[in-house]
């Protein structure tokens, strides 16, 4: 099949094969292509020496040739992170040391604080409060206008700094909603009556007898924290029972469960984990979500 053959028209040798009389010219590869190819070969050889390249099995397990310049992508990343942190250090220092009200009045600084707050919220708070701070059962919605422990900048800052029922922090916010049913303080009937009374506070009870019986129970057991009118008390973290917001559900069954077993949600004291600048940024971010108080 294969034989020397020269194409008449072009004078170029063919590959020597003939397919149904059709021959292929054996033109050389373009020079630019072949030199580029050689250059890439040289490049590869140099690269193997200079950069991390070949995996191999050593006595300590799998490793790789490190390359003579010691390039390491992790170092690059951590270097970049450090550089960004260093670049932000001045501004974050300002966020850490400026009083919250003054930050809020400074649009430039506020923009930085809100940006930092949004990022820190996603990293630290979203697992419980949700990515939109919308909360869920037992975890307050931070977009609304009810604040168990107060919604001013300072209140939010304290809650963030010291947490709620966080034993490791001496200044943590603490209150006790007792397990009236489980601990035998109230009978089942009394729990049911007081739940009926709580429903009536937001105008949702149709059982007037139970309400009047429940009112007595409420007066003796609940007013200390929730107040005469059931309006709650931010000093003690006692929720307002007259409004439309229910952390653990507002139907009768949920209220009975709350009264019977008590409630004691926990929030970590972020002061031990985050720096002051981040706490301030989070405070301002959370405040602006729903407008604070």
């Amino acid at each position: 099949m294969s034989e020397k053959h020269k194409d008449e028209v072009t004078g170029v040798e063919t590959t020597g094969h003939s397919w149904d009389g059709i021959r292929e010219l054996n033109n050389p590869l373009p020079k630019w292509w072949i030199y580029t190819f050689y250059a890439t070969c040289v490049w590869a050889a140099v690269y193997w020496v200079v950069m991390p390249a070949w995996p191999y099995l050593s006595l300590d397990g799998w490793t790789y040739t490190k390359g003579v310049i010691g390039y390491e992508q992790r170092d690059v990343v951590s270097g970049e992170i450090e550089a960004i942190a260093a670049g932000r250090a001045d501004t974050m220092q300002k966020v850490a040391t400026t009083p919250l009200q003054e930050i809020a009045a400074d649009p430039g600084l506020m923009e930085v604080a809100l940006g930092a707050g949004r990022a820190a919220f996603g990293d630290n708070c979203a697992p419980c409060h949700g990515s939109g701070a919308q909360g869920s059962k037992g975890f307050p919605n931070l977009n609304d206008d009810e604040w168990l422990w107060g919604g001013t900048l300072d209140d939010i800052h304290t809650t963030l700094q010291h947490g709620i029922r966080w034993d490791a922090d001496d200044d943590t916010r603490v209150n006790i909603m007792m397990a009236y049913g489980r601990d035998g303080i109230l009978s089942r009937a009394e729990v049911s009556d007081v739940a009926e009374y709580v429903l009536s506070l937001s105008g949702r009870s149709e059982n007037a007898d139970a309400v009047s019986r429940g009112a007595d129970v409420f007066q003796s057991q609940c007013v200390a924290c929730h107040g005469e009118a059931g309006k709650g008390n931010q000093e003690l973290g006692a929720p307002d029972l007259t409004d439309a917001i229910w952390l653990y559900g507002g139907d009768k069954a949920a209220i009975v469960e709350t009264v019977s077993n008590g409630r004691s949600g926990v929030m970590p004291a972020w002061g031990e984990r985050l720096d002051e600048g981040t706490i301030n940024a989070l405070t301002l971010y959370v405040y602006t979500l729903g407008g604070g108080e």
Binding site: V9, T10, Q101, A104, A105, G130, S131, G132, A133, Q134, N141, N143, D144, D145, E146, D240, D243, A244, I245, T288, G290, G291
Partner: protein, 511 residues
């Protein structure tokens, strides 16, 4: 420059030699054979480029090309330095592509990224204009105004100035290397590079404040991108204008392929009048012109051609219609005392008419040109109307999605909205935001108590972003049909009374 005055006898003798020898090298021994680089007999399947040595010509089209070159280069180099006052805080450069702040300034016009359709409109206008001109008079763009043509022409003039005209350049290239040759070649490439650097240098001024950038460039403080682009454009200008030249038009540019669809038999094209020129042949002074054509086959049209082709071979893809062969031929016709215009702008149909004994005439107004002109007028009209009605106030409203709505302690439902207001006026404006279409809805703005809640000040030529709350009292929740109600944000420019609206939804629990 002395090369240009050559006796007609010599020209004719050279041509005769060329004809009898039939050499495949178009430049012969002394470069005095005038053969087109694409003539059939020396056109193998694989051919390396034959260098073209265009000869200088004098005449009306050469002067026209000088004028176009001066005007286009002046426009290119001067435009970034023109100033246009837009008021404080805004760039005063007449033409500026400001990428960092995403604005395109063009004299009185100012285009935001979302208004890029104006640029699209301009490009459509430009291409329709190109179609119209091409259908009337062929590749006018290629021959006179295309940057490739202008810069190549400039580079050829530099080459001619340093190395001499055609014959001298051919001789220089054939001569062995000497100090003189080296000096001439080096000088030529140096000047080319200077022009290329100036070209790239002018380019970057369109993208930043020209005087500032010029200072930064000279003190080596300009951004790296500026140097990068100067380098890029230096390289392309030098390569395309100095080295590649006609190959760009023949092999790289798609326009020669497209133009075929634009011409017709009534388009004015640079043509050799075969009916008048043939039979061609050398002519001895004093002999009769009876029984022969006017073409003395002197080859000056080939020598002048920057594409290296022979116009007498007819219409061809390589011809950029620069009309320099017309000038070259007219010079010869004057000397042999025959009428000018053996090579001229002519139409196929007129060639036909003359052959049939009819008188030639021009049909500029014909369906094709009417159609292109109408399309051009239509797009221009749309552009003018769009520009005249260009809004200076844009509003967009984005409802919060996480959470969709929030129940407040009094049982009302609240939604959050991100409102963006674009102020394209050249002064700061105050806008009042209000709601329409949802009775009982209350608009508030979460602020820290130091601003008027429903007005926003937007700086000149800026975009402002504000968050708003809309709450619907619990007794009005029946308005939420299927958990949703339509409403409209109304933004009013307090100063001018101009209003922009944007409709959106208010969401709540399904009732």
């Amino acid at each position: 420059m002395t090369e240009t005055v050559t006796s007609l006898e010599r020209l004719a003798r050279e041509a005769a030699q060329a004809a009898t020898h039939g050499n495949t090298d178009p430049h012969g021994d002394e470069g005095e054979r005038y053969t087109a680089v694409n003539s059939e007999r020396n056109r193998p399947l694989y051919a390396s480029r034959v260098k073209v040595y265009p000869k200088l010509v004098h005449g009306i089209f050469r002067r026209l090309k000088w004028l176009v070159m001066v005007v286009t280069l002046a426009v290119y180099y001067v435009t970034p330095w023109l100033r246009w006052d837009r008021g404080p805080g805004l760039p005063d450069q007449a033409v500026l592509l400001d990428f960092p702040s995403r604005r395109f300034y063009f004299f009185f016009l100012e285009i935001w990224p979302q208004e890029f359709y104006y640029v699209t409109g301009l490009l459509i206008l430009a291409s329709l204009g190109l179609f119209l001109v091409t259908s009337i008079a062929g590749r006018v763009w290629c021959g006179y105004a295309c940057p490739q043509t202008v810069w190549t022409d400039l580079f050829i003039h530099v080459e001619r100035f340093i190395e001499g005209d055609r014959a001298k350049r051919i001789r220089l290239d054939k001569s062995p290397w000497s100090a003189g040759k080296l000096a001439r070649k080096a000088a030529k490439h140096f000047v080319w590079l200077l022009i290329a650097v100036a070209t790239g240098g002018a380019w970057v001024f369109y993208f930043a404040d020209a005087p500032t950038l010029a200072g930064e460039l000279l003190s080596f403080e300009a951004p790296a991108a500026a140097y990068l682009f100067i380098g890029l454009f230096t390289a392309t200008t030098y390569t395309l204008g100095g080295i590649a030249r006609e190959q760009v038009c023949i092999y790289m540019c798609p326009w020669p392929r497209i133009q075929g669809a634009m011409f017709d038999e009534d388009s004015l094209l640079v043509s050799y009048k075969e009916d008048r020129g043939e039979t061609r042949g050398p002519h001895k002074k004093g002999t009769s012109w009876e029984g022969r054509g006017d073409c003395i086959d002197c080859g000056q049209c080939v020598a002048a051609c920057p594409m290296g082709i022979d116009i007498r071979d007819g219409m061809q893809l390589e011809c950029i219609q620069c009309a320099l062969c017309i000038d070259a031929c007219d010079e010869i016709m004057d000397r042999v005392e025959r009428p000018r215009g053996l090579i001229a702008y002519d139409t196929f149909r007129n060639q036909e008419r003359r052959r049939m004994g009819e008188s030639p005439r021009l049909d500029i107004v014909r369906p094709r040109t009417i159609l292109y002109a109408a399309a051009l007028a239509l797009v221009a009209a749309i552009m003018v109307v769009a520009l005249a009605n260009r809004s200076t106030l844009d509003v967009s409203v984005l409802a919060d999605r996480n959470p969709l709505f929030v129940t407040l302690s009094d049982g009302s439902i609240r939604n959050g909205y991100q409102v963006k207001i674009v102020n394209k006026e050249h002064s700061a404006r105050t806008y009042r935001i209000s709601l329409e279409g949802l009775d009982g809805a209350i608009l508030t703005r979460p602020s820290l108590g130091n601003e008027d809640e429903t007005t926003i000040v937007v700086e000149a030529d800026m975009l402002a972003n504000a968050r708003f709350f809309v709450s619907l009292p619990s007794e009005r929740l029946d308005a939420l049909n299927g958990g949703e109600a339509d409403m409209t944000f109304v933004v009013t420019d307090i100063e001018s009374g101009k209003i922009a609206t944007r409709s959106t939804s208010f969401r709540g629990p399904k009732q």
